[in-house]
């Protein structure tokens, strides 16, 4: 059970992020989560959105290069040790985390997004430990 993340290539210069958000805003795209990785001359924006297909089209029409990546979205218990428990499960099963970021839903839930080398394995491990995963349909409702 994974969700689709959209990764977008951005030049690291004034206004390039704005150009992307303008395109998304103009088409009423609702972002669930957003994170940015950058070097001195370019960056990668990573998004979870309500409508993946519409977003890909909007971005490509606006001249952006983007790609879809499966990531694992986990509902993390909002208590001390909540994230720790998730990471323990992954570590025990030898799943390497390439990067991760967090977001909160419109309700009370806190969520972590994991990019892992082996999405299938991570999903199986977490589910077996009773950790709640979010699928694409649920994501759209969050």
């Amino acid at each position: 059970m994974s969700v689709k993340q959209i990764s977008v290539f951005l030049e690291n210069k004034p206004g390039s992020l704005l150009k992307m958000t303008q395109a998304l805003a103009a088409h009423q795209i609702d972002m669930r989560a957003f994170s940015l990785a950058e070097t001195s001359d370019f960056g990668i924006a990573r998004l979870l959105v309500d409508d993946v297909i519409a977003t890909s089209t909007v971005l490509s029409d606006a001249g952006f290069v983007s790609s879809l990546t499966p990531v694992v979205a986990v509902e993390v218990p909002d208590v001390p040790g909540g994230l720790n428990q998730v990471l323990e499960s992954l570590a025990e099963d030898g799943v390497n985390v390439e990067y991760m970021y967090a977001f909160v839903g419109k309700g009370a839930g806190a969520y972590m997004v994991f990019r892992v080398a082996d999405t299938y394995r991570a999903t199986a491990t977490l589910t077996a430990r009773g950790i709640k995963l979010v699928d694409q349909e649920q994501l759209e409702q969050l």
Partner: protein
Amino acid sequence: MERYYQPEIETASPEQIKAWQDEKLVKQVRHVWDCVPYYRKLMEEKGLTPNDIKGRDDLHKLPFLSKYDLREAYPYGLMGAPLKDCVRIQSTSGTTGKRVVAFYTQHDIDLWEDCCARAITAAGGTNEDVCQISYGYGLFTGGPGLNGGSHKVGCLTIPTSSGNTERQIMFIMDLSATILCCTPSYAAYLGETMKEMGLTPDQIPLKAGIFGAEAWSEEMRQSIQETLGIKAYDIYGLTELSGPGVAFECSAQNGMHINEDHFIAEIIDPETGEVLPDGTQGELVFTSLDKEAFPLLRYRTRDVCVLSHEKCSCGRTHVKMCKPRGRTDDMLIIRGVNVFPSQIETVLLNQGYPANYQIIVDRVNNTDTLDVQVEMTPEMFTDNLGEITSRQRELVDGLRSMLGLTAKVTLVAPKSITRSEGKAVRVIDRRKI
């Protein structure tokens, strides 16, 4: 077996070629003296009359012509035939801001088309072939020149002109086109598109391609040959001299035979103008031998080149020129190192980058900087920052070993590098020297 369009000319002995050139040069100089006051004045300034030119050995005495003269004499100043005899003009794209207009009589067009027919025949073309001309038609010489050559050979000619890739591919597939004529970058693009459509080289009916009008590397040839499953041949020409077909590649695929019955080629030192011996790199200079409407004597091409009289396996005896190695006016000197943009292109293509790039040269704290900007493509892009930066480093290393210089590589947004119709702006030199 090697085929020739005009075997008696293309395989003539060096002595025969020299005899033709001697005779034709004397006539051409006389024609220019009589009909082109602009050049007559240049000759007079050197104290020359047509009587001083008795053959090829006297060629070096004549003054040079350059793009500057073409601009000065624009539009009619170098026309060598009365208007009533001229039937056509062709013109360059004028990317350097200097539009060149060349004139043709019917005789000139015939000779030009013969040259293109030789090129098509050398690429294996016969009257059994279907030849698709995807060069632009119009003022640009590519379309009209190859079109004429294709008719002369007797190919079934498909005049698609440039653009509309879907239609190009439809014609290639539906009509089983066997020869493709276009710019090498368009050939590469057609190849990539056909590959994306799932067409494999053995499904593509093409067997040969004649690609010119822009610089391309040996690596690019290999890649086009593989994706299209063809033999790719280079062709050389300038609007000033007629158009494509001044020189063309044969089955040996290692240099282009110059049509020496129509043109004399010289290599000169671009600084001193001195003629250099065979095998030496220098600027390529052409003299037309039997043009009526636009005869040019000792025209400086700015192309850096080497000539070779070595015997060719194809049996043609006309001198061969290498692919132009750059231009005397686009060679960059960066931190004292000579850099040709074509070298940078070679590295980019080797590493799977698209041919859309821009080279920005600047001077910061008295040191030259070289920034190679490459457009991000969907193929290169991944959500993994590390992968992208390590590919960037590989490119920096590749450029260092090719140029002996450390360049900065910047990945930029798709389509952010300006495209002009036709030739792209490759180099921006911001240095104030």
